[in-house]
Subunit: 291 residues, 2 copies
């Protein structure tokens, strides 16, 4: 029997370990760090077997899926570089790809194949308590294969994605992934926390619209994790946030100057773009949006 080792049993790792059980002839071993997570993983059968010692499992693991935070993933690659089974496939699932791919290129020996992954799935809540085997159903699975990724491993990855019921698999480069995610996800989190940093937050109950609740939903984030995600993607994120600042400023100037003509033209252009992208998405697949 072959072995998939899932390192880190939080929301994503726990859900992946659950989703992958029964995949072909693989045993799914989950590695927990805390006693609490270990006990819960055992209780909910999050993996075929649960361990505290991922390093001991590495020499026998055909597929390793790293589900820690970015610093945890990079540290794990560095500390365990000589323990990976030759010819194995190593994946990660975190939200930045260039920094992780760079670390994999630096630390992993030649015979180990690393493919960066980003399942576009999530919840507002975290941890093994909230893990579920159907979390990935109909979501996007973004993968960033390195230049040495083998066709055999890519094929295996696609079969695993299908088994987990991902809606599609999107291959791209780590750089393009990080640019896109800076725009579609990280910037949304910068916006959400910035909106919540206003003194009116606690006085606006009763006045909030659905737009307010939707926009601020992701502000209840994990500060340490997002500090890593933001700083590991600083060039792409600061570029796109700077563009946002500029555009918001242009709207404010038009409003302050009572420049209705400019303002209406800006709003018409933006709303048309949004209506057009809504139409394009409606024509597209029915993959649901990720987190």
């Amino acid at each position: 029997m072959k072995k998939i080792l899932v390192v880190g049993l939080g929301l994503i790792g726990g859900s992946l370990a659950m989703a992958l059980q029964g995949f072909e002839d693989y045993e799914v071993v989950g590695a927990a760090r805390s006693q609490s997570t270990y006990d819960k993983a055992v209780a909910k059968h999050a993996a075929n077997r649960v361990t505290f010692d991922p390093a001991a499992e590495l020499p026998g693991a055909d597929v390793v899926i790293l589900c820690q935070d970015p610093a945890g993933i990079i540290g794990f690659l560095r500390d365990n570089r000589d323990r990976f089974k030759p010819g194995c496939l190593v994946l990660d699932v975190c939200g930045v790809k260039t920094a992780v791919m760079d670390a994999a290129a630096e630390y992993l020996p030649d015979g180990v194949d690393f493919i960066g992954c980003h399942p576009m799935a999530g919840k507002e809540v975290s941890g093994i308590d909230n893990a579920e085997g159907t979390l990935f159903r109909n979501t996007h699975f973004i993968v960033t294969p390195g230049p040495r990724a083998t066709a055999e491993h890519l094929d295996l990855l696609h079969r695993m994605a299908k088994y987990c019921q991902f809606g599609d698999v999107i291959e791209t480069t780590p750089e393009r992934h990080d640019e896109m995610i800076a725009y579609t996800s990280q910037m949304m989190h910068v916006i959400a926390v910035s909106v919540c940093d206003n003194e009116e937050l606690f006085s606006c109950v009763g006045f909030e619209g659905g737009s307010f609740r939707d926009c601020t939903r992701v502000a209840a984030l994990d500060p340490a994790m997002w500090t890593q995600l933001f700083t590991l993607n600083a060039p792409a994120l600061s570029k796109i946030v700077s563009e946002l600042e500029e555009r918001i400023h242009q709207y404010r100037v038009a409003i302050e100057n009572n420049d209705r003509e400019t303002l209406c033209a800006m709003l018409a252009s933006a709303s048309n773009r949004k209506k057009q992208i809504n139409l394009e998405r409606a024509r597209g697949d029915d993959v649901r949006p990720g987190f």
Copy 2:
């Protein structure tokens, strides 16, 4: 039989006319502007009676609900100041209150009672086609009575709100309403259009998270209407947007400087605020958020 005249049968006006049918001993008359809206209103029985001529109905109307855009409401008050029935109650439902209350104070004769209203309900789609009598169920109804509002009219307003199944009625001043709405609604629209004004919008399909879709949802707005709403509330809106710009800028600087300590502290503070307000709302009523 007494008469409620609903002027303007778009999404809100049409829904109000539908929701109010059967209220006490009132006939609900709906005034449409276009033939198309008239025909649809008749076909879906949006009112007890539909007319093209609201001015002709005014002398006999005990309650008048103005459901045009802000400029339409202000123009209607100006043009029909002498046609209102003495002692009648006039309401509006638009998203800015100070400008409308000021116009009412300027134009309406002493015996006419004006109360500004803002039902916190809506949809991404507009028009009589999307009107429905249950639109207001469990939503907030914000009202800004003028200094001369009578207890009798306030009581009538509360009975109407209850009949329409609003979740609650929140009384405030026009100025406070406009400050709050600048923050909770108008700024969300500025953010949504600013995000959509980026060249990446059309290349990010497959990379968008739920946060992106939620944040940009309201960008598909009506440019002429929102130009009015923004400019009629320019002081409050530009103040709050300026605060947002400053805060987003602080995040960008911390990210660019790789200042993890500051960034983590900012994120911890904001996420704690959001978690706290989530708890307060969970303890509160079950009124659903408006648009």
